[in-house]
C-alpha cells in the first residue's frame, strides 16, 4: 500500500510538477529495485494516457520484421500483402490526426502573441496599431496575430496594464477583456486596467471609455470620463468614483508605491502582487497599522528595508529550498 502514496508524486514528476522535496523523496524511494519497476510501470501507464503521438505498431512491426528477414532469415514473419496498403493508409491517417492534434494543442500559440512579465518586471510594448501598453509585474497580455486593427482590436489582459490607445482612421474599437469577464471598450484614450485575483479596476486618464461586466445581465455599458476610477466586484458589480487622484493608481510605472492611510496588510498584498513571494505579518496589531507616503522600490527587499525602519519592526527572510519563493516575516 505504501507504494501507492508515491504514485501521485511520480506522476507529478512526469509532468514536471514535482517539488524539490518530492524529488529527493523519490530518489530515495528508487533505491529499491522493485520500486524502479513500479516507476516504469507508471511511466508506461502515463505515456498510454498522455500519448505525445500516435503510431501504428502493426506497420512498424511489419517494417521491422521485413528488415530483419533480409538480414536474418530466422526471423521470417509471414504477412499478407494487404498489410502494405494498410501501412500507407495508416501513415496517411496518422499524419492527418497529428496535424489536427498539433493545431488544437497549439491553437492559442498560433492565434495569439503572448507577452508576460514576472516578479518586479515592467514591460512596454507597441502593438501593431501603434497603441502602447505598459505591463506591470506578474501580468500577461494576449494579442491576436491575425486581423488586429482591421475591424476591431481585442486584447486579453491578466494582471495590470496601462494602455495608450491610438485612434485609427477606420474607428476600429479597442477592447480589453479580463479573466473575470470585464470588457473595456474605447476608441482612443489613455487608461489603466487592473485585473487580479481580488478583483478588477479601471482608471481613466484621458478621454472616454465604455465598460461592462459580462457576468451581470446589465447590458447597458457604463461610460466613464477622465479622473474616474471604477472597481468591479467579484459578482460583476461596477462601482464608480469620480474625480479621483490618479497618481496612486499609476505610480507602478515608475516603480512607485503611493499610500494614504494604507494598512500594512494591504501593503503586503500589493508587494506580493508586484514581486511575488510571501509576506507574513506576525502580529495582528501590526497588520492594522496604517501609513502614508510615496515609496520607490524595484525589489521587495528594498521596500521592506524602508518599511522596517519606519515601523521599527524586524524582517526575517526565509528562502524556500529551491530559492523560488521568498518568505518575509514582519515582527516587532
Amino acid at each position: 500500500m505504501s507504494q501507492n502514496i508515491f504514485k501521485p508524486a511520480i506522476l507529478a514528476l512526469f509532468e514536471g510538477r514535482a517539488t524539490p522535496l518530492q524529488k529527493s523523496l523519490i530518489e530515495e524511494w528508487l533505491m529499491e529495485p522493485s520500486h524502479q519497476e513500479l516507476y516504469f510501470q507508471w511511466l508506461e501507464e502515463w505515456e498510454r494516457q498522455n500519448p505525445q503521438l500516435i503510431v501504428d505498431a502493426e506497420a512498424a512491426f511489419f517494417q521491422l520484421s521485413n528488415q530483419a528477414e533480409a538480414e536474418n532469415p530466422k526471423m521470417a514473419v509471414v504477412r499478407p500483402f494487404s498489410r502494405r496498403l494498410n501501412f500507407f493508409l495508416g501513415i496517411a491517417a496518422s499524419v492527418l490526426l497529428l496535424t489536427g492534434i498539433c493545431t488544437y494543442v497549439f491553437r492559442d500559440a498560433i492565434l495569439f502573441q503572448q507577452y508576460e512579465t514576472t516578479n518586479g518586471e515592467l514591460m512596454t510594448l507597441q502593438l501593431p496599431d501603434d497603441s502602447r501598453v505598459t505591463l506591470n509585474a506578474n501580468s500577461s497580455l494576449k494579442v491576436p496575430r491575425f486581423g488586429f486593427g482591421e475591424t476591431s482590436r481585442e486584447v486579453f489582459l491578466k494582471g495590470e496594464a496601462e494602455f495608450s490607445v491610438k485612434h485609427l482612421p477606420n474607428h476600429a474599437q479597442f477592447i480589453v477583456r479580463t479573466p473575470d469577464q470585464l470588457e473595456v471598450q474605447v476608441l482612443g484614450t489613455e487608461f489603466m486596467v487592473y485585473s487580479r485575483s481580488r478583483g478588477s479596476k479601471v482608471v481613466l486618464n484621458e478621454g472616454k471609455v465604455q465598460l461592462r461586466s459580462l457576468k451581470t445581465k446589465e447590458t447597458k455599458p457604463l461610460i466613464i470620463t477622465s479622473g474616474d476610477v471604477v472597481t468591479i466586484s467579484s459578482k460583476g458589480r461596477l462601482t464608480l468614483r469620480r474625480d479621483q487622484s490618479l497618481a496612486p493608481h499609476l505610480g507602478w510605472k515608475e516603480h512607485r508605491f503611493m499610500f494614504e492611510n494604507t494598512s500594512i496588510s494591504e501593503i503586503a498584498y500589493q508587494l506580493t502582487e508586484r514581486f511575488g513571494g510571501q509576506i507574513v505579518i506576525a502580529d495582528s496589531t501590526l497588520a492594522k497599522r496604517t501609513i502614508g507616503g510615496t515609496f520607490k522600490a524595484e525589489t521587495a527587499d528594498a521596500f521592506l528595508q524602508v518599511l522596517a525602519e519606519m515601523l521599527e519592526v524586524r524582517i526575517i527572510r526565509n528562502e524556500s529550498p529551491s530559492g523560488a519563493t521568498q518568505t518575509y516575516t514582519l515582527t516587532y
Binding site: 524511494w29 503510431v55 502493426e58 512491426f61
Partner: protein
Amino acid sequence: MDSNEPEYHQPDESNRFAPQLKDNSAGIVDSELWIKRAFEADTTKGYELLFKRYYQPLCSHAVRFVYSKEVAEDLVMEVFSQFWQKQLHQTVTSSYRAYLFTSVRHASYSYLRTELGIEKSSDYLENDSSDTQPITPQQILQYNELYIKIEEILRSTSPQSQKVFVMSRFEGKKNAAIAEELHLSTKTVEGHITKVLSLLRQSLRNYGLLFLFIMSDLWAQNKGVMFFFLSQWS
C-alpha cells in the same frame, strides 16, 4: 492487450519466470508473464507481442526528447532490433518494460547529444556491459528533468517559432511547405528553426546535458541513420 493476461496467469508460476524480482504483490511481474511465456514457447511470437505492447508508449516517450515522430519511431525500432539480435529476452534481469524504457531513454539522449553537436558520435563507448544497464535513481530523475527542460525551452520561444519547429520536426514538413502554409519566406522559416535549435543547444549545454554519463551502445551502431537525420535538419 492486458485482457490476454488471465490466460497465462497462474500465481505459483510467477516467480519461476522472474526470479530476480521480489514479489511485490503489485502485479508488476505478472503483467509481463504472458509475454515471457510466449518467448518460451516461440521466440518470434514473444518478440511480436513485446513489440506491439510497448511500441506506442515507447515512441510517445522518445518523442518528448527528440521532438520528431520519425526519429522517435526509428529509435524505438532500433532498440527492439537490438533486443532481437542479442536475444535479450534471455538475459534481461529487470522487467522488459524497465529495460525498454531505459534503452529508449539512452538512445534518445545519445541522439540529442549528437544532433545538438554536444558530442561527436565517435565518442560513444562501445561497451557491451551496458546491456546490464546499471542505472541509478539519480539518472532516472535526470531523464525526467531533461525532457521537462526541453519542453520548457520550447515553450519559452515565440509561438511562431514553436509552430514552425513543430511543423518541421514533428510533422516532418519541408521548409518550403511550411513557408507556403504560414505565408512566410523560406528564410524566415529557416530562421525560426535555427533559432530554436540553437536555443536548445545553448540551454541544454548551460543546463549541463553532459551530466548523464556513458550511454548505451545500442544506438552507436546506427550512426548511418543518425547522420541521415542530421543532414535533414542542418
